[in-house]
Amino acid sequence: MLRFASRRLLYSLPVLLVGSFLLFWAVRTVFDPLLKLRQVRDPGLIARETERLGLDQGIFIQYWRWLSGFLTGDWGVSSRTSGSVRPMIGSALTVTLELLVWGLIFATLAAVLIGVWSAVRQYSVSDQVMTGASYLGLALPAFWFGLVLIQVLAVWPQQALGWDKPLFFFVGLSSPTEDPSLVDTARHMVLPVLTLTVGLVAVWSRFVRTSMLDALTSDYVRTARAKGVPQRQVIIRHALRNAWGPLITVVAIDSALLIGGLLVTEQIFSIPGMGRLFLDSLLSGDVFVLLPWMIITGVAVIVLNLAADIAYGLLDPRVRVA
């Protein structure tokens, strides 16, 4: 297992290296790291900064300088805020991880519940309603869904019932004036999590439904039923256990999609996480934030994929990890 994991990680290193170099090259071509200083009327300043940052050297040397700084923990200074990059990314990552973890838990649970329910009652009214809902979920622009959610679940009830606060908040992840409590966090979390996961739940629930249907018509389930195992146990112990594998693979494949969804969700709900950080940095051409951002998301996607493969092996003993 350990050997498998380390080999996979080693194997992804070249992908990350080449990817980060291409990004470095693209970002350096598109943006001018000295843009801010160009307005200063001091011809010597530009020359000094060019010299200090090594901008007059070849692209490979520049990349090497940046990479060795990155690996030794010297991530440079943001040209947008003039703050150090590492704490900026650190705090954004903390916020985003909270949203991401709740999103993953909710999306997986919802997909399993919907998928199992639909499969067990195939072609029933509720199955057809959920099939319809998944088509809708897939055809929605997520940001529009989020905005409509705000209007329907937060603004309308507040206006109709005359509350001084909406039931679900739609700015940030906690109220600045109150002590952080579970209720407060939950009231902030509901709308962003729904926005982030609507498309994923639509897709994942279809996967669970399909693999549950496969499992429910298989011989070992028939055997279990013939032995007199109760329905609930057949579904949870026998069928669902086999349906987990494909779901986990899809979850891993979609992890890049999930991180992309953060851009939209955090923008709508003014959440100061990685998505917002990316957009703010991109709009101001903040090279020193964009590069570590891309590397960190890349590593996250690779690690998630690896974790999925390992989990698959643990859940399904037939898949031997070698």
């Binding site: 070249p14 992908v15 990350l16 080449v18 990817g19 291409l22 990004l23 693209a26 970002v27 071509t29 598109v30 943006f31 998944s134 088509y135 809708l136 897939l138 055809a139 929605l140 622009p141 997520a142 940001f143 529009w144 905005l147 409509v148 705000i150 209007q151 603004v155 206006q159 639509a202 897709v203 279809r206 996967f207 399909t210 494949i253 979609d254 890049a256 999609l257 991180i259 992309g260 851009l263 939209v264 923008q267 990316f278 957009l279 991109l282 709009l283 051409g285 964009l290 891309m294 998301t297 890349g298 996607v301 690779i302």
Partner: protein
């Protein structure tokens, strides 16, 4: 050099089977009808639209949907239905161009990689790995920030990033096709690689390609609107459904919130219809595959 010509009777039979299978998929037929009507309304907007384009009525200002203005009017008193129909031209043209270009690139690269194998295939797999690691939306935003937001730039960037999915699918298909007897037969009678690919391999990919074009159209409409919302899409005064939506996104909690609903509904209905047509195409052209559109998308 002998080319095996397809028999006419067989072609006719396939075509009628196609229609029979496609029309059996009721939602696909409904989707096709809705799409045709929508496209006709948008591209015939000069005839159909209730008001001339960009006709302002500043005294009227924004009004809610009514008998005169079915979908209401915007801040400048312009009829919103008229605006949506004209914006639909941009959204649809953009989506169709991207779908066709991205699919062509993907089919070409995927077919060559799968057929030739070796280092070309290895290079191809590594390149698509790169695309899997970075969120597509971030890559798109980065590229558009560099290239500007003209419709042409958007089409180019979306196509250059959207080809990987179909390329992987085509590669897989070609890998299994190239081991089949009729390919061997073609090679034995002296067909060149290009002839084998164009005459014998490509025709067998028709189903996959058609379905992918449909899915890519749907995916492009959604991703263009998302990019508009984030500020990287088509810019005013040019309008698309995406930037109408993003302009209306600040109206939550105000009486003008109805402006937010309609462009989104047009996107929703169009994408639903395209997805249904895609499902119908898949059932009709590739009966072995049973996956629904809910399990495969362009930009992942």
């Amino acid at each position: 050099m002998n080319e095996v010509q397809p028999q006419t009777s067989a072609t006719i039979r396939t075509r009628s089977t196609f229609w029979r299978r496609f029309t059996r998929h009721r939602m696909a037929v409904l989707g096709a009808v809705i799409l045709t009507l929508l496209a006709a309304a948008c591209f015939g907007a000069t005839l159909v639209a209730p008001y001339p384009r960009d006709q302002q009525d500043l005294l009227l200002g924004p009004v809610a949907p009514s008998a005169e203005h079915w979908l209401g009017t915007d801040e400048l008193g312009r009829d919103y239905l008229t605006e949506i129909l004209y914006a639909g031209q941009v959204s649809m043209l953009l989506a169709i161009s991207v779908a066709l270009i991205a699919t062509s690139i993907g089919v070409l690269i995927g077919a060559v990689a799968g057929y030739r194998g070796g280092w070309i295939d290895d290079l191809f797999m590594r390149v698509t790995d790169l695309f899997l690691v970075v969120p597509a939306i971030a890559l798109l935003a980065l590229a558009l920030q560099g290239l500007g937001h003209s419709p042409l730039a958007i089409i180019i960037v979306l196509s250059l990033i959207g080809w990987t999915y179909i390329a992987r699918v085509v590669r897989g298909q070609v890998l299994s096709l190239r081991e089949r007897e009729f390919i061997d037969a073609a090679r034995v009678i002296g067909a060149t690689d290009r002839q084998v690919l164009v005459r014998h391999v490509l025709p067998n990919l028709g189903g996959v390609i058609a379905v992918n074009v449909a899915l890519a159209v749907a995916g492009t409409i959604i991703i263009e609107s998302t990019l508009s919302f984030l500020g990287f899409g088509i810019q005013p005064p040019e309008s698309s459904w995406g930037n109408m939506l993003s302009q209306a996104s600040g109206l939550i909690g105000t009486p003008k919130v109805y402006l937010l609903y309609f462009p989104g509904l047009f996107i929703l209905v169009t994408v639903l219809a395209v997805n249904f047509v895609g499902d119908g195409l898949r059932d009709a052209l590739d009966p072995r595959s049973t996956a629904s559109s809910a399990s495969s998308r362009g930009y992942s």
